[in-house]
């Protein structure tokens, strides 16, 4: 069996834009190739109340990269006495990834946040920091091809928080069902200017 490093642990991450809100969701499986090791692996982490980052790819880099980003964001907060805007944060992630251009972190981040005037912002990038901004949805992980299809079909612009949650959950679950390396439930965050709603999905537990 050929070892593909990006497919070593398995992952699926998706983010969608709604009306003054955004949703970011991931699967929960952590595997070592064909063996499932954990079913509660956290791929999405909060940077601050209005910026979330979901990392797909090699699990160890997911964790280390997140820890490095917390380091940088904490210092930013202490020096500038404010939280980072999502666009700024995306640039920071891109810069940190490019620093390791010739020995990269094997992750593809998905960044989602509420910017100024509560305008939702999403973006994704490859493992060396090439940013891709989108107005509707971004996907990443081993299930990305299925996710592209599902999101394209189910997405509508300007959805409210509840409808957005339904849409992103359906898109995630149907896509991970077509991918053997991701699944075992879902973890969805729906963020509006006033609250952060975190939900666990139970899908096909395989």
């Amino acid at each position: 069996m050929a070892m593909q490093i990006f497919e070593y642990n398995g992952s699926a991450v998706v983010a969608m834009v709604g009306k003054n809100c955004f949703a970011i969701a991931s699967d929960r499986r952590l595997g070592v190739q064909l063996q499932t090791i954990a079913t509660d692996f956290q791929r999405i982490s909060k940077i601050h109340d209005r910026v979330f980052i979901g990392l797909s790819g090699l699990a160890t880099d997911v964790q280390t990269l997140y820890q490095r980003l917390v380091f940088r964001h904490k210092l930013y907060q202490l020096r500038e006495e404010r939280d980072m805007k999502p666009e700024t944060f995306a640039s920071l992630v891109s810069a940190i990834l490019y620093e390791k251009r010739f020995g990269p972190y094997l992750c593809q981040p998905v960044i989602a946040g509420l910017g100024e005037d509560d305008k939702p912002f999403i973006c994704t990038m490859d493992s060396i920091g090439a940013k891709e901004l989108a107005k509707d949805f971004v996907v990443s992980g081993t299930a990305s091809e299925s996710l592209y299809g599902a999101c394209e079909a189910m997405y509508k612009p300007d959805m409210e928080a509840e409808e957005l949650f339904e849409t992103i959950s359906q898109a995630l679950l149907s896509s991970v069902d077509r991918d053997c390396l991701s699944g075992w439930g879902g973890h969805v965050y729906v963020v509006t200017p006033t609250e952060i709603k975190e939900r666990i999905l139970k899908g096909r537990m395989d």
Binding site: Q67, R68, V70, F71, K74, L75, L78, R79, E81
Partner: protein
């Protein structure tokens, strides 16, 4: 022949015989004295003075003799002192004071703002208090530009620890790490020491609430109550009398305001001249660093009766 003496002043020209006080010889210290010193008496006097100096306590006045030992930080003087470090502490003695007091349920830091001009843009950023990490804050006394460098260093050190161990850096370790940096400037590199003293206030799960004081030499100590900056000795002596163990945060804030009102140079206390911050635990168990707003400070000053001139404090 006649000799002409032109008298410029009415007093006679001093002579060695008549006017011992105004007829002076250059002495070994570089100053002036009434007796002529030979090479032998010079050496003898040097020896006596060195002896006297080592018996004297640390004082702010430094004689000319020591000038040859204070140009470099990295050498000791014959009496075993590091003059540059002591001069740095002198600089801090002229800066705005800061006081820190430990309470049962938190730590209180209070600072005197020296620069209070109407023209000063009082933005959200503070002059005396700084957050180092979520669980540690510090008050500063001394040269602000030196303080900024050290605060940044402390912040990065705290984050590096958290990155490595995925938990907050214990307060004493942070203080020690920063003091190691300060010590480096007293031993090598030929650079002057930092002219800043810090009061660190923080909480960690092993030792609870802690207060540390550090000075330019890189020495630090854990304190129940400490003062740095101008009039710090007066403040420390008042604190020694009035400090009570296990006081609540409100009682400690009252004590801090009273001590500062007594030791501050200005006649009245207003909220513009002060900064007050507290480190405490929220009911949910997380550490909070809270700086009082000017309105809240004014209310506290009125409540504890310290807005009037120092003579009328209750």
């Amino acid at each position: 022949a006649e000799t002409l003496q032109i008298v410029v002043s009415s007093s006679p020209v001093p002579s060695h015989a008549n006017d011992k006080e105004s007829y002076l010889w250059r002495s070994h210290t570089g100053g002036f004295g009434t007796t002529l010193e030979s090479r032998g008496s010079c050496k003898r006097n040097q020896g006596i003075e060195n002896q006297k100096k080592s018996e004297r306590k640390v004082s702010s006045a430094v004689s000319n003799m020591s000038r040859r030992y204070d140009s470099r930080t990295t050498i000791f003087s014959p009496e075993g002192r590091l003059y540059q470090v002591e001069y740095a502490m002198e600089a801090i003695g002229n800066a705005g004071s800061a006081i820190g007091i430990l309470a049962k349920d938190g730590v209180v830091l209070i600072g005197e703002k020296k620069v209070t001009s109407k023209l000063l843009q009082t933005s959200t950023s503070a002059e005396k208090m700084y957050k180092i990490d979520d669980h540690v804050a510090c008050a500063v006394a001394g040269i602000m530009s030196d303080a900024n460098i050290l605060i940044n260093t402390a912040r990065v050190q705290a984050q590096r620890y958290t990155f490595m161990y995925q938990e907050p850096m214990p307060v004493e370790q942070l203080v020690q790490s920063l003091c190691d940096t300060k010590q480096g400037y007293t031993q090598f590199g030929g650079l002057r020491p930092f002219g800043v003293s810090f009061l660190f206030a923080g909480w960690d799960k092993n030792h609870g609430f802690q207060l540390y004081m550090s000075d330019p030499s890189g020495n630090y100590g854990g304190w129940k109550a400490a003062a740095v900056g101008a009039n710090n000795q007066a403040a420390q002596s008042i604190l020694k009398q009035d400090y009570k163990d296990d006081a609540s945060r409100e009682e400690v804030v009252e004590l801090a305001l009273k001590v500062l009102s007594k030791t501050m140079d200005s006649t009245s206390l207003t909220s513009e001249k002060l900064e007050l911050a507290e480190v405490f635990l929220t009911p949910s168990g997380s550490v909070q660093y809270h700086v009082h707003s000017p309105e809240s400070l004014t209310k506290l000053l009125v409540k504890h009766g310290v807005t009037q001139p120092a003579a009328e404090t209750s």
